[in-house]
């Protein structure tokens, strides 16, 4: 009998969190920024830098969303429209589009053709001001509406934005000779000028990465200071209970409008930088999917927690990119599965299940091989010596071969894989509801095997779908087991 009482594994994660939060906030912030800032010295791979730029951009957006939803408690589902508004406004001003519009409108009445482009820094200022204006005008209904009604109105605003950016490419305008192409429709706005500050033009991905990093730093400091201030305290108390805050004499009207204005200004400017970075703006960049992504980032990190928003944005920007490589995704999946099993309280149970799954797989493979050998296909992975360079890639290749050793590989896996998927979903749900017992351990083995089989036969074949399936289950599972997010504080609801 092992008498050494091991502490429950949940607490090890919590001690890690405690140690992390024990570091002064200032140092955590400086450390994180420095870590990102030195990244371009280690790689000049544009793909990686682009992902890091996305991390900065989405962190900024998640922080801005946090001000509106996390602090002020306003469920704003039109948030992504401000991001898009910033991008489109910047694109309209700082590209040949605006002069083309004026030329089209005046037609042959003009004495000369206009050809001018508004400088980027000036456009950003305009974007910030206009975003504040739109934030206030969208915020004003929030004074009358509450909760879900506000959510639907803002969602409607977001959808109207996407639809208008998709359709405003042939607008008949009174007094104009030709129909105006405001947004470029589904083809998007193209040829957007890069940003230029004091004679320095941002051209490469690295430049934009640094621009977004600096912008993120500014926003983080500003929002943190705001949160500590009188205004931030007022926001948070309003978010907790708007009625109580009003009774305590807080100007809730003004507080709500300020929250909307702050959030939309930040996301508008971020959108402007995004447009300059991409050199283009398309309607689908600002669709509801992006909004869901932003909410997932904020929620994953913990609502109302700035570091959490940054963490959530980093995780959800990086993981989908990792999922693009089939070898890497396989490693992550099985290592994650194994690690999950090791978290099962008595370790030997987890180990037993792991071994059980492999043995189960070998038996199934042997039975199918004996009964219907022509259904089986050979391993899809072969040891390729020359083309593979790094040790890691060789290792992941080996790992894949090991996995395929005990998983059923079928020639026509689509249909059976689909059926297995349909069986798997209720099986997983039922498993999650079983109470811990010997029966649960035994049932876990075939269900996990089924999961691995579906993974190999269907999910790796459709990486885009798999990504979204994972995001969806992450949201649900997260809400069930840790609704306060990774870094957030658990809220106690008093009825």
């Amino acid at each position: 009998m092992s008498a050494t009482a091991t502490r429950p594994d949940e607490s090890s994660a919590n001690t890690l969190l405690k140690r992390f939060t024990a570091i002064p906030l200032k140092w955590r912030f400086v450390g994180f920024i420095t870590l990102l800032a030195i990244a371009p010295f280690f790689t000049n791979n544009n793909y990686i830098l682009r992902i890091l730029g996305n991390v900065c951009m989405f962190s900024t957006l998640a922080v801005a969303l946090n001000v509106v939803v996390g602090y002020a408690g306003l469920l704003d589902l039109g948030f992504v429209a401000f991001f898009g508004l910033g991008a489109y406004l910047y694109g309209l001003l700082s590209s040949p589009q605006l002069s083309a519009l004026i030329n089209a409108c005046l037609g042959d009445r003009a004495s000369a053709e206009f050809l001018f482009i508004v400088p980027g820094w000036f456009s950003l200022i305009v974007v910030a001001l206009v975003s504040v204006g739109f934030g206030l005008s969208l915020g004003s209904p929030s004074l009358r509406l509450s909760g879900d009604y506000l959510a639907i109105v803002t969602l409607g605003f977001g959808l109207i934005f996407v639809q208008l950016s998709n359709t405003l490419d042939r607008v008949e305008f009174p007094g104009c000779q030709q129909p105006l192409n405001l947004t470029g429709g589904a083809n998007g706005l193209l040829n957007i000028e890069p940003l230029r500050f004091f004679g320095f033009e941002l051209q490469t991905v690295t430049h934009y990465f640094y621009a977004l990093l600096i912008w993120m730093g500014i926003v983080l400091i500003a929002v943190h200071r705001l949160n500590q201030s009188r205004l931030g305290r007022a926001w948070r108390s309003m978010g907790e209970d708007a009625l109580a805050a009003e009774i305590m004499g807080m100007p809730t009207r003004r507080l709500k409008l300020l929250a909307f204005a702050t959030g939309s200004a930040i996301s508008g400017v971020t959108g402007g930088i995004f447009a300059a970075w991409q050199g283009s703006a398309f309607p689908q960049n600002f669709s509801v999917d992006v909004l869901i992504n932003m909410y997932a980032m904020m929620v994953l990190g913990g609502i109302g927690n700035l570091a959490g928003s940054v963490l959530g944005a980093s995780v959800l920007s990086i993981i989908p990119e990792l999922l693009r490589s089939p070898e890497l995704i396989r490693m992550i999946f099985y290592v994650g599965l194994g690690a999950g099993l090791m978290l099962v309280k008595p370790r030997r149970n987890g180990l037993a299940v792991l071994i059980g799954v492999i043995v189960f797989g070998l038996i199934v493979k042997w039975i199918v091989g004996a009964a219907a050998p022509d259904l089986l296909s050979g391993p899809t992975l072969k040891v390729a010596a020359e083309s593979i360079s790094t040790a890691f890639e060789r290792f992941s290749q080996q790992f894949g071969i090991f996995v395929q050793g005990w998983i059923l590989l079928l020639k026509d896996s689509t249909l059976i894989g689909n059926l297995a998927f349909v069986v798997l979903v209720p099986a997983l749900i039922a498993l999650s509801r079983l109470k811990a017992s010997r029966l649960k351990l035994i049932v876990t083995v075939p269900v996990l095997y089924l999961l691995a089989f579906v993974w190999e036969s269907r999910l790796t074949a459709e990486p885009a779908v798999t990504r979204l399936l994972l995001v969806g289950s992450l949201l649900v599972v997260m809400m069930i087991f840790r609704p306060h997010g990774l870094l957030g504080q658990r809220k106690v609801e008093i009825a």
Binding site: P141, D148, I152, V465, V471, V476
Partner: protein, 310 residues
């Protein structure tokens, strides 16, 4: 003006067809909201699954029609299968995604609902691919059969069927809620969950039942949509769910007759926009009307002004 008047009856018929589908979806939203104060964002995807179940039944039974199976029978079976399948799906969703989250802050089940919606959509895409599927309605109902009302309007049999089926379902629902023991319990839980529990109502059972009924209506709506607008696809639930939700809000969320009225109204507004203004700006104008409407009447058409107790 002449043109407007000539088109008016036809557009009203189009609007009522759309509206009955929206109303059926809105009912599910409204019932769940009335009981749990929860926005079930996965509701639109339940509707989509209903359309697919109907498609599956239709595809399976098509060969039998030539051997003498009544088309009316097929339609009935499609609707029934979709209603039962979706009802069970709704119960599953409640069990999996919402029940563990009772009594948590409002945003928590909302995020879980978003996650469930993503899960259902992608599960369907994974198993059935992202292709369009097309209902072969013409095999069931002859396309040119229909009722011509003079020069004014033309009601195809399909549209008449959709409107009729929706009305039948709504009457059945009203009977269920107003006249049966289960319905009384549902109303009691909606008014005050704790008080109902102390009076001996099994609240969990009522919630499951509500999810079943609401999702079944959405499944029926899915099949009816498929009959009129035959192309179905895995993301169709998003827009429809949004419209259903809008209709529920317009009618006053939590209010059953309100949801029906709101759905019909929304359908007519959308048909008028398509017919008289511009089909391109259909969605934008519909949502604009919604926003203006909510600003004028924040609690919806039939919703009562909720007094907040502290």
């Amino acid at each position: 003006m002449q043109d407007f008047l000539a088109q008016l009856p036809q557009q009203i018929i189009n609007g009522l067809t759309l509206g009955s589908v929206y109303a059926l979806i809105a009912l599910g939203y409204s019932m769940v909201y009335g009981i749990l104060q929860l926005l079930n964002f996965a509701h639109g995807d339940v509707y989509m699954v209903g359309a697919y179940i109907g498609f599956g039944v239709l595809t399976a039974l098509l060969p039998l029609i030539d051997t003498g199976l009544w088309p009316a029978m097929v339609i009935l079976l499609m609707i029934l299968a979709a209603m039962i399948g979706c009802g069970l799906l709704g119960v599953g969703i409640e069990w999996f995604a919402y029940r563990p989250l009772r009594n948590s802050p409002r945003i928590v089940p909302l995020i879980s609902a978003l996650g469930t919606s993503i899960l259902i959509q992608n599960a369907v895409q994974l198993t059935l691919t992202a292709q369009f599927r097309v209902y072969k309605t013409e095999k069931l109902i002859a396309l040119d059969s229909g009722l011509r009302l003079g020069d004014l309007a033309y009601i195809s049999t399909t549209r008449a069927l959709v409107i009729l089926a929706a009305i039948v379902l709504m009457i059945a629902l009203t009977y269920l809620v107003q006249r049966t023991k289960m319905g009384r319990a549902m109303r009691a839980v909606a008014i005050d969950r704790e008080a109902a529990a102390t009076m001996g109502v099994d609240v969990d059972r009522i919630i499951v039942f509500t999810f079943f009924i609401g999702s079944a209506l959405a499944g029926g709506a899915g099949v009816l949509t498929g009959l009129v607008f035959p192309r179905i696809f895995h993301t169709m639930g998003f827009n429809a769910g949004l419209k259903g939700f809008t209709a529920a809000v317009v009618g006053g969320i939590g209010n059953i007759p309100g949801a029906m009225l709101g759905g019909m109204l929304l359908g007519v507004v959308e048909a008028f926009t398509t017919g008289f203004v511009s089909p391109t700006f259909k969605e934008a104008i519909t949502f604009f009307v919604l926003i203006v409407f909510l600003l004028v009447r924040p609690r919806g058409l039939l919703g009562s002004t909720a007094l907040q107790k502290v």
